[in-house]
């Protein structure tokens, strides 16, 4: 028989999991209790890790001599201005954060996401080693262009453009089906793991190995 601590945690996690599973029936007090328990736990977790991070990224370097970091620390404290009647002071740290986000995003997005993705259309065709792969890569290239054409809303989808847009829509629908299949696997893992946990707890209680 497993030790009491293991059984306790097995039981505790099973209680939590079953509480959430009751949502399939409908929202009920058991589910709400578990939901609020998790809200409190998650909130505390975020707060503690956040405060620890303030210490490791802000306070410790300042005490070690990086006095310039006092400026972002003061700006960061202004974020709590949202809780006061002078909520506008929180715009300053948010503005700085937005500026940094924009500054580091544009270049990388251009190179990695736009140029890189467009280049990969040609690369796939160019590096194909046999006729079947070349044909498949060409199909993928045409499908990519067709899917992009589907999102052109400034011109009516008629004639050749309409045909490409329809093909693009079919590709997007197939992609949607595949992405559903992907998500479905995730759901099985998530629900299956904790259903197994509940079964194992029942087995532990009954003394079945």
């Amino acid at each position: 028989m497993a030790d009491p601590v293991t059984i306790f945690w097995l039981g505790w996690s099973s209680l939590i999991a079953v509480g959430i599973m009751t949502l399939v029936w409908r929202e009920n007090p058991y589910y709400r209790l578990v939901e609020h328990l998790i809200i409190g736990a998650g909130c505390a977790h975020m707060l503690m890790y956040g405060l620890l991070a303030v210490s490791t990224t802000g306070i410790t370097p300042i005490l070690a001599g990086r006095t310039l970091l006092i400026i972002p620390l003061i700006l960061a404290i202004l974020t709590f201005g949202r809780l006061t009647p002078w909520g506008w002071i929180s715009r300053y740290p948010v503005a700085l954060l937005t500026a940094i986000g924009i500054g580091i995003l544009i270049g990388g997005a251009l190179e990695g996401q736009i140029v890189g993705q467009v280049r990969s259309i040609g690369d796939a065709i160019y590096t194909a080693k046999d006729p079947f792969t070349t044909a498949s890569a060409t199909l993928a290239g045409i499908a990519s262009i067709a899917a992009i054409i589907y999102f052109i809303y400034t011109k009516e989808h008629k004639g050749v453009l309409g045909g490409f847009a329809r093909f693009g829509r079919i590709i997007l629908m197939a992609g949607l089906g595949i992405s559903w299949g992907m998500e479905f696997g995730w759901f099985i893992t998530a629900l299956g793991t904790w259903t197994e946990n509940v079964v194992n707890f029942i087995r532990a209680l009954m003394g079945i190995p």
Partner: protein, 212 residues
Amino acid sequence: MANVVIRTHIPMYIISIISLILLAEYFVAFDPLAAFRKEMLTWGVIIYNFVTLLGSVLMLRFHTLRTMKPPSRDPKARYYSIVAIAAFFFYLAIGWGTGLTGTQYVTMYMQTVIPATATLWGLNLIFSTMGVYRAMRITGLEGLALLIGGLSYFLKEMPIVASIFPPITGIGDWFLLYIMTPAGRVAVLTAALISIVVCLRTIIQRERTAVV
């Protein structure tokens, strides 16, 4: 007038100037720009932290107010908020008492938060199946594409199907490489283009959502 300048214009100019300098650093190899970028990134990490702390504080405030004055349509909400606040303080006590890296806290977190979030997500198995049962019908070419795309990946992931019909892995990979990739590519391209457009509009101050 001074109010508008301090509350709106100055933050917008901060965004424009700093983002332009950081953007210039990406394209121009110049040591002072690189040093400026390095310093700004450290500042960003510190400021970001407080934004997440604010989230926790707002959540705590919401539940505290709900305990004191529950909504009239749901008077029992007060009791659930008490549970949330009690759990909050309990986790705080264990986390700070035994240490965030200690076995006690890690076990508590792994056996409470993970089962709840995973199970909640996993219930989509049932809800999404009900949706797919209604949506995946061969009503036309698009419906057929949806069904074939879904089944190609679905069956590939089942070891039992792969052991009965081994080519399913190759077929599933083909769909992944030559059908899913164009769809994913378009998603990435459009998301990147939209991000760049919104960023540029923010720099030229046409987009003011950052300071609202």
